[in-house]
Amino acid sequence: MSYLGLALFAEGLTDHRFLGSVLNRLCTELCHSHGRTPVDIGEVLELHTLPGFEEQSRAERISAAARRAATAWHILFIHADADADAKAAREERIKPAMNRLTATGEFSSDRIVAVIPVKMTEAWMLADPDALRKALHLAENLDLELPARTRELERLTDPKTQLQQITRLSSTRKRQRRRRDPLKSLPRQLGDSISLDCLRRLPAFQTMERELRQSLTQLGYLHPDAP
């Protein structure tokens, strides 16, 4: 029985809540289908900037938190929204942290996986209309006015606004007194229920999963000849 510890440094709380659950489920599914041996998978550990490091560079903030938590993780996910340019996001916001962690030879690059949703994480949260409707308690056949093909979500100019509009569909019907913003609980709920197959239709998710599979194979969790 081996153990697989996961950690995530994400840009915001929404990203932590949504990605934490999705990444845990993805690893579980991969180990279930292609694993070599039984493995225990922990919840994804949220990494935040350590107190006193607020003024440091992003690379230093990531590397310090990851080092402090080193006994807890085998795979470190670093999240950066692609915004306009995924390549630039990787070069500017993932690579420097990765270099800092691997420079001393303490952590191999196999253990670091980049999570770069095109535009932003909210685009991923729109990938499964059924899960969205369920999470927001909307009617099963309600049209959410999303692009016909999931991969086109990456072309939306502002997925965040789109998501907000959808959450409003549910909140207008609720009592006045309820001030709670559904966007607060939605990310975790969606992370738990969103279909991984829907997410796999997004090219950015495919890239991330490919990298993750390589890492898990390198670290010996997955069969090297898995399809």
Binding site: T28, P38, L50
Partner: protein, 522 residues
């Protein structure tokens, strides 16, 4: 009686080699009584003389049974408890009664519709070197570290009723060389000398073995192995439908003293699940001596502690200490006393506050009563073993919580600070198991360990996903990981082998920081 007939009780004894048949003719005049007298001295078995002979040589028409109550153990076994045979203290079904949920819900759900059939328990104990049985016999143990393993199986009986069976039971000495506990914990030399006793024995006290039954089929047996008492064949018990543990049947210390001590130890473990309503009521003079799980007899226990520990110089005995500790932890409380209401045959608790008001227990807050209950048990000279208590933070002000944790640490056995003076008036070993969600409790324990006092071990529990690709199963299970709180360990380089097995300093900090607005520290 639990037995339909004497014959049934005899069959039970015979199956366990505690009854012998003698077919040879034996005279009822002098001969039989002499045999009986000698057997009684040797604590021997009961005997059925199948062919007694009268004084004049005529064969008797009826057999004679002697020495039936020749040992305390057999007497205990012959009496019943609530209509059930007292072969054991409780059977499995009885033992799980007070537990959350139904019996079958205790077995882990591996996947929807797939529930495991077995639960395995294991415990490693440190026994008090001297034990007493209910008949006042005192025995000294030569080995005090024992591991006990128990597997309980859920199975339908021949009538299709779901039942619990013991499928494996084992007790074995932990040899000095294999004992990692004193290596992982700070243990003083005096404690080592007085409490950690190892005997060179390797064989088990109790084991589950396979052998052939009368028909030559493979069958599991529980075997009790000799323990210092020579010359008796070790009894075996069939294991195929055991509904109680063998350990629970060891009710006297004479033959299997280590197993008896182990049983006594495990019987003393208690979990307090206090009920504020019950705590508020006065309790009858005749209530049980030890604090009950819901705390209903708190006043009676305090009265007994007062009577047992009173001295001319301190007439309230340890109740005075309890009052002092309580006053230190609960703002406004000055003093505590327990009073007897002779007419109602009850005891009741009273608190005196700083402003001179006397509060009866009816109006004392839940939190204060919880703190008082815990202090009472830990100050009770009759208390021993493990006490479990949930969420000590409930009902106590966060600024006093640290003092509370310190106070608790002072009331339990601390192997690190055990000194020669502690051996003069030996107290039974006492351990406290707390569960908590409070970062303040974690911080308090961390501070204690950093300062070198307190033997606390902190364990984080969380739920993880267990994936088994071969059997295509995914299940959720609880993981327990020790927290490394020793100074200097923070800077320890991560060892690949400990990854996921110990709690990282980052996680500890994250837990402590939960009371701070994330925006302030992230």
């Amino acid at each position: 009686m639990a037995y339909k007939s004497l014959r049934e009780f005899m069959t039970l004894l015979e199956n366990e080699a505690d009854l012998k048949r003698v077919a040879r003719p034996v005279s009822t005049h002098l001969e039989m009584t002499e045999i009986q007298t000698r057997l009684l001295h040797q604590k021997g078995p009961a005997v059925l003389f199948e062919n007694p002979v009268h004084e004049d040589g005529r064969p008797s028409e009826m057999p004679a049974l002697v020495n039936l109550f020749g040992t305390v153990e057999r007497v205990a076994r012959a009496v019943t408890l609530g209509g059930e045979p007292r072969k054991t203290a409780t059977d499995l079904r009885e033992a799980v009664k007070g537990i959350r949920g139904e019996v079958d819900e205790l077995f882990r759900f591996a996947a929807p519709g797939r529930q495991s059939r077995e639960i395995h328990f294991a415990v490693e104990v440190l026994l008090d070197p001297v034990v007493r049985d209910p008949w006042g016999n005192e025995v000294e143990l030569i080995h005090t570290r024992i591991r006990y393993d128990l597997t309980i199986r859920r199975q339908q009986d021949e009538r299709g009723i779901e039942r619990l069976f013991v499928s494996r039971e084992e007790a074995r000495p932990i040899p000095r060389t294999e004992d990692s506990w004193p290596k992982r914990n700070r243990v003083s030399g005096v404690f080592r000398k007085h409490h950690l006793r190892y005997f060179s024995r390797r064989s088990k006290y109790l084991s589950t073995d396979t052998g052939k039954d009368d028909r030559g089929n493979d069958r599991a047996f529980f075997s009790l192995h000799q323990d210092g008492v020579q010359g008796k064949r070790s009894p075996t018990l069939p294991a195929h439908e055991a509904q109680a543990t063998v350990l629970s049947s060891i009710t006297t210390s004479d033959r299997f003293k280590h197993l008896f001590a182990l049983r006594q130890e495990m019987l003393s473990w208690r979990m307090l699940q206090l009920d504020p309503a019950a705590l508020r009521r006065p309790s009858p003079v005749v209530a049980p001596e030890l604090l009950e799980s819901d705390g209903a007899n708190l006043a009676t226990v305090l009265a007994r502690i007062k009577a047992e520990t009173a001295e001319p110089a301190q007439p309230r005995g340890r109740v005075g200490d309890i009052a002092e500790e309580l006053a230190n932890l609960i703002p406004g409380v000055m003093d505590l006393d327990v009073l007897e209401d002779r007419n109602a045959r009850e005891y009741r608790i009273e608190l005196k506050t700083r402003d001179g008001v006397t509060l009866p227990s009816r109006v004392i807050s839940d939190g204060t009563l919880r703190v008082l209950s815990l202090l009472t048990v830990l100050n009770d000279p009759q208390h021993r073993g493990v006490l479990c208590f949930e969420e000590p933070e409930n009902g106590i002000h966060p600024t006093r919580l640290r003092s509370f944790i310190d106070c608790l640490a002072d009331l339990i056995t601390d192997p690190a600070r055990f000194e020669e003076a502690d051996t003069e008036s030996p107290e039974a070993l006492s351990q406290l198991l707390l569960n908590s969600h409070s970062p303040v409790v974690l911080a308090a324990l961390r501070q204690q360990i950093r300062q070198g006092d307190g033997a606390a071990l902190v364990v984080f529990a969380d739920v993880i996903t267990a994936v088994d690709p071969e059997n295509r199963t995914t299940s959720r299970k609880t993981r327990m990981r020790p927290v490394m709180l020793e100074a200097g360990q923070d800077s320890m380089l991560p060892d690949k082998n400990t990854r996921g097995e110990v709690v990282s300093d980052y996680e500890v900090q994250g837990y402590l920081n939960t009371v701070v607005d994330p925006a302030e520290w992230a």
